[in-house]
Amino acid sequence: MSKHFLFKVLSISLLLVFVQGCTTVKAWEKGYLSKPEMAFAPDPMEQKIMDHTYFAKEASSSGSAVSGGGCGCN
């Protein structure tokens, strides 16, 4: 067996070992993630207002949920 082949096998094995460090958060470990400060938008209403203002100023078509519509203000 050539040194090159052995090197390839060992590097792939090492890579697989390190990849196992990648893990998903288990269902019972989500306590910290559920805290309000961990949310992307802790206050959904405030986020909606900010999004609405943003899209109105950008003069682009509405990208956020605006139910009802019709006022042409977005």
């Binding site: 096998v9 697989l16 269902a27 019972w28 989500k30 306590g31």
Partner: protein, 163 residues
Amino acid sequence: MKRLALVCFLLCSGVSAWAVDLGSVAPNAPLKELAGTEPGKLSGIADYKGNLVYLDFWASWCGPCRQSLPIMNKIREQYAEYGFEVVAVNVDENLDDALGFLEQYPVSYPVLLDPEGKMPAMYDVQGMPTAYLIDRKGVIIYKHEGFKKSDEAKIEAMIKENL
């Protein structure tokens, strides 16, 4: 050399999670009792063998638990005399969160503490809350993931059927 390569590859492949299925014996781990007959002592579902046990994994941050705990408390009070028990396993990393939740939603059944998540890992819990109905011989007969008010009838029917 080829054998060495194969062995290296297999060693690095990792092992699958320990999962439990319906019909398998319910795994047990001794956990500290937060509330129950003897707070502070080590307890587990093995202590309730001979009863029909509803093993409920819950946490203070789990929204549906605000509904499930009072409902299970009510069901437990109804059927306790027939040998039914609810054993709740709390997975909060912070004890104060669990205590705060129990102050709001008090229960009369045993609550075990598992901040390290030993028990949910043994059961390979996929969502919170998850509950398992364990028969009198310690075999898992039913699994219930999530919780909504309309689940109460289904769970009660399963309990009545297996009492």
